[in-house]
């Protein structure tokens, strides 16, 4: 039996061939090292994300998350649900909170769930993967597995919005959370605690619908990373990762900048530091390759 077992909610962006598939690959390999067992919730559905709001209304949105809770309870009663995506985690936690605080909403949700032959008896705990790492595993244990410290690599910890607000990681401040810098330090790289864009919004879904507005924000996030001497950016959120990485070419065209900075997931840093291969860390999943990490992984 693994040391830590959870019900796993991967979310749409982590599926094979989707925008955060590199995140999932590296998480799987990281979990193997840390003896964490994630069992996917069978037939899970989309969390609804924040952006569905115009059509979703209130109840349908919560019902979507509730279906995942019900499936998790049916197949893995009592297990906590772990999400890797910030938006999935946030959406599920929001639903958990609302249903817990409103008997009417809970009753309505159950009535709708019945149509799919499901029910909820107990509210599951909803955890983000970084909470599991920090709270259940701990920095000491995480550090023990480091075989190849990422020495001399300067990394800006970009926390973004949704892993940080409104819930955040326990004990951290909304304005200046430190856990990501501590993780950078844990893998032996050099963190930049004074990186002043660490909780700035990447534009979220506006990157699709109104790219100019989102890209103006992304530009500030990258510029500040360069200003602080970072050679890569790390983040715990799939949308932050995609938004900050993939539009750099377009931003360069608009603003005359020369951005070309890799944007990684914390799990990728950990896999490389744990001695994993470039493939285990899904380094081939970057649009902007992280050469320094590829070198370390190849050593």
């Amino acid at each position: 039996m693994a040391k830590h077992e959870y019900a796993f909610y991967p979310g749409c962006s982590s599926q094979k061939g989707a925008s955060a598939s590199n995140y999932l690959t590296s998480v799987e390999s990281m979990c193997k090292t840390l003896d964490v067992k994630l069992t996917e919730i069978p037939d899970w559905n989309c969390c609804g994300a924040s952006i569905g709001y115009a059509e979703a209304g209130e109840l349908p949105r919560h019902v979507m998350n509730a279906r995942n809770f019900a499936l998790s309870e049916q197949h893995m009663p009592g297990k906590e649900i772990v999400a890797t995506c910030a938006a999935c985690w946030l959406g599920a936690r929001e639903t958990r909170e609302r249903l817990t605080h409103s008997d009417t909403l809970m009753a309505d949700t159950k009535e709708a769930l019945k149509e799919a032959g499901l029910t909820i008896n107990e509210m599951p705990e909803i955890r983000h993967m970084v909470e599991v790492l920090i709270e259940d595993i701990g920095f000491d244990e995480m550090k023990k597995h480091v075989k190849k410290p990422l020495e001399g690599v300067k990394i800006a910890g970009y926390v973004g919005c949704q892993t940080n607000r409104p819930f955040g990681v326990a004990g951290e401040s909304f304005e200046n959370p430190m856990y990501l810098d501590m993780m950078v330090d844990m893998v032996g790289a050099t963190p930049i605690p004074e990186y002043d864009m660490k909780v700035t919004c990447c534009g979220g879904a506006l990157a699709f619908s109104e790219p100019e507005k989102a890209q103006a924000q992304i530009k500030d996030i990258i510029e500040s990373a360069y200003d602080h001497g970072a050679e890569m950016i790390v983040t715990p959120c799939p949308l932050c990762q995609a938004n900050v990485e993939i539009y750099q070419g377009q931003i360069n065209k608009t603003y005359g900048t020369k951005f070309n900075i890799p944007v990684m997931y914390y799990s990728q840093l950990m896999v490389v530091a744990y001695g994993g291969s470039a493939k285990d860390a899904a380094l081939n999943g970057q649009l902007i390759r992280a050469r320094r990490l590829e070198e370390i992984a190849a050593k």
């Binding site: 749409c12 094979k16 709001y53 209304g57 279906r67 699709f208 649009l287």
Partner: protein, 210 residues
Amino acid sequence: MSANTAMAEKYRNSFLKEIEEQVEMGDWVKMCMQCGVCSGSCPTNFQSAWEHPPQELFMMIRAGKREEVLTTSSMWNCTSCYNCIVRCPRKLPITHIMHGIAEYAHRLGLAPKMQPTRFFSGLFWKNATQTGRVNELKLSMGLYFRNGFSAGVKEGMKMKDVALGLMKAKRLNPFEILGGHKCRDQKGIQAMLKKAYEIERSRKAAKMAG
């Protein structure tokens, strides 16, 4: 009578009451003390994208400016960053109220027709609920081709490098267009959502009648 006229008639004397009863978290609006922290914390408002930032919208609701509030494109600029929520001294769930007002304006058919985030929001929800999971390729194609075929090709071309890069990194699968990821129990999901919409509609109608 259109949904909008019915609502306007029913709540003739109080737009605040209308918002309280018909908008998600709308009953919080009266708690706002007009400090302006939300507007000063809002990333898209920094770019002057909001005609009326949140604080102003709350004041306008109390002043009964129904038409202006429901037709503005302001709240569609919300990125769900939750900065306002964690800073508001009165603990208003501002993000949700913004989404709620937007949803209500959309429901009544008053939201600006060509508002791109309105379009994307609807597209996303349909995409996600149709099969139970998001199909990222169809989602982006649907967005680029919203103004017809040639405009779509042009917008798609702008994104060509991004798309090719993602495909190379195996993070965008062109075969998703043929179907792609989905849930097994799509029937159950449809039935459950249908029920949820029914319940939500009847609850809102009951409030209106009550």
